[in-house]
């Protein structure tokens, strides 16, 4: 007898049930593959299921439709966003930007626009906020806070504004079909930082 003991190899405190193949992972992986190859428009649940070697039922059991599936797959595919700590605000920000801008075919700034139209429910938008925007915002907060602690910028710098200034133009560039080059990144960041720096004259706006 074959003495199936897949449970042994598993993490101790993890989930209760588990079938032969890890269907969920296979589906998510297939989703990302097809997303890369064919784009969102041509991604069909049937193709996902087929590539995952799963039944459509297995997909629909977990996600109500294609959009939440894609959102989830994207969310999980995002590498953990660590706030860089180079000791210099500008370097930190460049690092952050490149992480997202250069990094990913699947960066949310690139793919989310595609999906946004289909985010019907508030639930889903909330998920997107939580999974995508919050980590970015948090990373910016960390970086900015460190810079403030170092005295690079004034303590009351508006992180939210910095956030929009950092990622907004990036997203917009993609939207326009004109991906930013390194120099553009560098200059945009300069501008963003300038707004956060201590003012010589002390006055604001």
């Amino acid at each position: 007898m074959t003495q199936r003991t897949p449970a042994v190899a598993r993490a101790p405190g993890r989930r209760s049930r588990r079938t032969s193949g890890d269907v969920e992972e296979a589906i998510l992986a297939a989703t990302l593959e097809i997303l890369d190859e064919a784009g969102f428009k041509d991604l069909t649940v049937e193709a996902v299921a087929a590539r995952a070697g799963a039944a459509k039922t297995a997909v629909y059991r977990r996600w109500p439709s294609k959009v939440p599936l894609v959102v989830d797959a994207l969310a999980r595919s995002q590498p953990a966003l660590v706030a860089p700590d180079t000791g210099d605000l500008r370097s930190d920000m460049i690092a952050l930007w490149k992480d997202l801008a250069i990094g990913g075919q699947r960066s949310i700034e690139r793919l989310l626009p595609v999906v946004t139209a289909y985010l019907g429910t508030d639930d889903l938008m909330a998920l997107v906020r939580e999974r995508f925007f919050e980590p970015r915002l948090q990373a910016v907060r960390t970086v900015v806070a460190r810079a403030a602690a170092r005295g690079e910028i004034r303590a009351d710098a508006d992180t939210g504004l910095a956030f929009d200034l950092l990622f907004g133009p990036l997203a917009y560039r993609w939207l326009r079909g004109v991906p930013p080059d390194d120099d553009t990144i560098s200059r945009l960041i300069s501008m963003a930082i300038e707004g956060l720096q201590p003012r010589d004259d002390g006055a604001s706006t």
Copy 2:
């Protein structure tokens, strides 16, 4: 009846319309209506044709598919973008922003993300660039040039950067589902302008 002539696609030598009803306009109007009511996702060519009182054939005779139809409808619905001329860069920019930010349910920053996923061909993207982004860029150019002429900012200010700094955060805000308020607009613009201002010292880029 006033024999309305369709705004576009009317070559000079072409012979004039034959039927009483202006099918083309009806279709575009129906498209915009459905876009407003149901969004891009739930816009179907059949619904457009039905609402326009036209046959699907009449739609497909003019536009190869749903996406170009929507792009065209959006393009024509955009009000002419006039570069404001208040005598002050900041005021000009705020005026520009508000025009687009507050103005339209159908502003391209709001709707384009929806469509981007489907902009398969370069042709279509080119059209989008020509119809949507170019007028904005031109308006910014005008405003910035006037400011430079007034000496508000240095003559070699990078208009492209300014453009991204102006509209990027706006689009990003919509993407995030957090529409910008007046104060945010004001502060973002301050930051954008700062990057264009003449530098006293000449430190940093």
Copy 3:
């Protein structure tokens, strides 16, 4: 310009592409083929459409589901049931029987049981009655009436009973999986006729 004139090459008043009548026939033919080959259980609308070279839509446009389709296909496949007229009741009945009993793989007595379970609505059952049972009943009526006119049987013979006696055992045989042979048919008909014949003693029942 290419001067499209496909109509010229066509049969006089006939169709061009593949007219609705064509599709309908193709679908019905495919239905009967699959019914013969695979039986009702394994007949799927998808297979029918595929074999007919039609889209599923084309099937569902005409029939709400599989059962009415099958009923219709069977109904149309039934050859026109002509009441035989041999000048002899017994010969007429044998002819009638064989027509149905021997004739058809698709005789309704053979296939209807299969479908009966799915005849949910009264509408459909009414259709079945009209298409299948009524012609048989009518044929029996004709045959019996002629025999009565000839004086072979009494004038008030109950055609309804004769009908059940003729076709009931036939259907039952098929149900039992024991198709009747010629001799059995002959003997069953003898019995049926006996009940219709004039009684020597003049009494009835």
Copy 4:
């Protein structure tokens, strides 16, 4: 309680049931209930299992699929068919008929057509013959044999024909959706009997 042993599938040396509930009976009972309520078409194994408070596994462990389950359930639900013995062929036959004709929602003449389509295997058809038709045939044989012994009919009367004449029209009536009334039964039986009666002496009933 009496620890009911399931009627079938209980080999002698098998050891007795372990769990408290009699799963097998529960499943069969649920099958019959759903058959009565919803009909064969809408009977699903899942519904059966649910109503029986059993797992689908428990069903499939015993019956290979839905059809054998239904056949089995029907077979067991049939009351023992006892050949009536009134001392008169006609009365015996009427009794027999009514037993089946009037009696059962679940009479096989009524339900078998439904199932026939699915009796793929010969095994199953053999089971049906053994469980349903053979008892009927046997009962007719008994009744006819007694009548022959009494001299009511000739000794070589064909029981098989009598069988078909008795139950065929009954089944056919159901098929047609026109259940027979008492008078019809009476008259059909008269006809059937006539065919079995001794012919030499002519008439008389």
